[in-house]
Amino acid sequence: MARMTMIEAIRDAMDVMMARDERVVVFGEDVGYFGGVFRCTAGLQQKYGKTRCFDTPISEAGIVGTAIGMASYGLRPCVEIQFADYMYPAYDQIVSEAARLRYRSNGEFTCPLVIRMPTGGGIFGGQTHSQSPEALFTHVAGLKTVVPSNPYDAKGLLISAIEDPDPVIFLEPKRLYNGPFDGHHDRPITPWSKHELGEVPSGHFVLPLGKASVVRTGSAVTVLAYGTMVYVAQAAATETGIDAEIIDLRTLIPLDLETIAASVRKTGRCVVVHEATLTSGFGAELAALVQESCFFHLEAPITRVTGWDTPYPHAQEWDYFPGPARVGRALVETVEA
């Protein structure tokens, strides 16, 4: 076990897989020589050569389109989109192609492909370096969508994603790269080197896709969260003193509905939090599912605490971000409802 940042854990997952499996190739904008603008691929080109890890032209459609071709050939590409905000030019290739190759060809062609992208705000990145587009993937049959919240999970889930026979969208909350961030932007963060979840096994290990993790047990209300919001929810629970059970979903599709439903049946209340805009966000699906499966256990409406239905603003970042105060208010209201 070694202490790692989330960046190091992600890099380590690729490193392990590139060493084990010749078919794993890594590419994207600034990914090769330089090692990525967030340094997630630093050193991989040096170690595995220019044909296993390389720079691409600035064309997300080209990155994903060629990766699909490579996957159908038999390689296992793990590509990076520099920011999730820049995945739109590749969206057609993701939705119409990667997600459907297996289905439409009845398995003649498949697409074992991982598309990594940093998501989320909190770094004053403005509207094009802050987005959380997970709901645009969860609506698409054929895709899996993963959002790790710590170095340990990131490594185990990324290895699972690379080994998965189907396309996986791997969303990396960039605000967590260097340490858990609970939304208190005016306080220093603990670096992962000082945090137990920075403890990452060396070598190959996997966390299965589709298993949530209960990061805090409680009986008053269930909080469904993923990525950065896991820490915000924890802060909110601590600060309000509410006995919240917090579930880190880790994988959105496939979703661990069992764990969710078991918790909500126990607590009778549910708050959903995410950073993406409210309307048609993944929180809507969670609320719909929870009321479908736990209706007769629910004692209060399911509340969503999310980014507002506006583009992510620059100066008003902390007004937009669903921080611990807003989440805390929702916890109180839900418990008191």
Binding site: T51, T56, P57, T66, G69, R102, R104, G142, P165
Partner: protein, 419 residues
């Protein structure tokens, strides 16, 4: 112009106006292809395989042709195929045409929902296929079924796909003609235009990364070159010198829009390759020998790691775009008769007759034989069902293969569906 004159012009500009390209003729008019410049057969030189692309720019503006008016094969691109190979090619094209004719009727009879034919374009996919080696991969559009026919894929399987019946290899999931066969080097066809073009480049890159010897062939229509993925394909192919042949089938029409809408101010579609330093050829798409020779040249370049080649096949879409389309609404009915490059089957037939290895009689006889074979295949296929009658894929199949392993939510849904 002096700077003063310039200023004068600048200060009193005329109003602008928008240029919208129009085909030479519309329904009611007389078909006119006088603007299509067609060089003599044999006139275009055949460069060395490792030629510097910048020195052959003119090839993007001419047309490589082998068969001349007298049915002779002439010039530097001639001489690659034996008589047997030519006769085989003839049979492939005739089979494809017959297959199309039967499926068109079947569609009209309600045995399937939709069909797309190749009429007039048979030479392109049939001849190209013969230049490939086993293991090479095509990324086709819906108008390259000749790759399957010439590759020996089962016609019954093709028809079962068209009928979405109980033996449909794709389990009824796909629109008719959207075949897929890994074994036959035929990538699963997408309904979304152009996406396959850049995937082909990726497949070729994968082959190079893997130190394999296989190459890829990308296919696209004239109209679809306007799509963005065409650009992505050329960028990546050019940068990584991917072992891929980038084919453009210019059949003059994209549903109702003539090729000038996609081509704009460039003289040809082949010219698109010039901006990328990719050797770009323009070929008579109705000339089986020319298509094969150009394909061979490009495939050889790819195989020798010399990088991509772009080929524009000049042809004409004689039929409707699909069974949903009626071309008489947007082009003269007789336009296809006026098409100056003729019919690929008739041209190869004439060549074989001139060579003394074929005759009108043998042609008719072959036609009859092929019709029998196709009808037999059709009967067999129909015994497995047609879209609305007989055997069909199950509702259960609908839930399968969304993923390798069915996730819980799909399991729940399948249960709900009661299948």
């Amino acid at each position: 112009m002096s700077s003063q004159e310039l200023r004068k012009v600048m200060s009193e500009p005329e109003p602008l106006s928008l240029h919208v390209p129009e085909p030479a003729v519309r329904p009611g008019g007389n078909p006119d292809f006088s603007n299509v410049k067609i060089p003599r057969a044999g006139a275009v030189p055949r460069p060395e395989i490792d030629v510097d692309p910048e020195t052959i720019r003119e090839l993007a503006f001419s047309i490589i042709r082998v068969l001349n008016r007298n049915g002779e094969a002439v010039g530097p691109w001639a001489g690659l195929l034996s008589d047997e190979e030519l006769i085989e090619g003839m049979r492939h094209m005739m089979t494809l045409r017959t297959f199309d004719a039967r499926m068109l009727i079947a569609q009209r009879q309600g045995k399937t929902s939709f069909y797309m034919q190749h009429l007039g374009e048979e030479a392109i996919s049939c001849a190209f296929r013969k230049a490939l080696s086993p293991g090479d991969m095509n990324f086709p559009t819906y108008r390259q079924a000749g790759l399957l026919i010439a590759g020996g894929y089962s016609m019954v399987d093709m028809m079962c796909q068209v009928y979405s019946n109980s033996r449909d290899p794709l389990k009824g999931r796909q629109l008719p003609v959207m075949y897929a066969s890994k074994e036959h080097g035929f990538f699963t066809i997408s309904g979304n235009l152009a996406t396959q073009y850049v995937q082909a480049v990726g497949w070729a890159m994968a082959s190079a990364i893997s130190k394999d010897t296989k190459i890829a062939a990308a296919w696209i229509g004239d109209g679809s070159t306007a799509e963005s993925d065409f650009h992505a394909a050329l960028v990546f192919a050019s940068t990584y010198k991917a072992p891929v042949v980038l084919n453009i089938v210019n059949n003059q029409w994209a549903i109702s829009t003539f090729q000038g809408i996609a081509r704009g101010g460039s003289g040809t579609f082949a010219a698109r390759g010039l901006g990328f330093g990719i050797p770009s050829l323009r070929v008579d798409g109705n000339d089986y020998l020319a298509v094969h020779a150009a394909a061979k040249w490009a495939i050889e370049r790819a195989r020798r790691n010399l990088g991509p080649t772009l080929i524009e096949y000049v042809t004409y879409r004689v039929g409707a775009h699909s069974t949903s389309d009626d071309p008489s609404a947007y082009r003269p009915k007789t336009e296809s008769d006026a098409w100056p490059l003729g019919d690929p089957i008739i041209r190869l037939k004439n060549h074989l007759i001139v060579k003394g290895v074929w005759s009108e009689e043998r042609h008719k006889q072959t036609e009859a034989e092929i019709l029998d074979t196709v009808i037999a295949a059709q009967k067999e296929a129909e015994s497995y069902g047609t879209l609305h009658a007989g055997g069909k894929p199950s509702a259960r199949d609908m839930f399968d293969r969304v993923y390798a392993e069915m996730p819980p939510h799909l399991r729940r849904q399948r249960q709900q569906a009661g299948v």
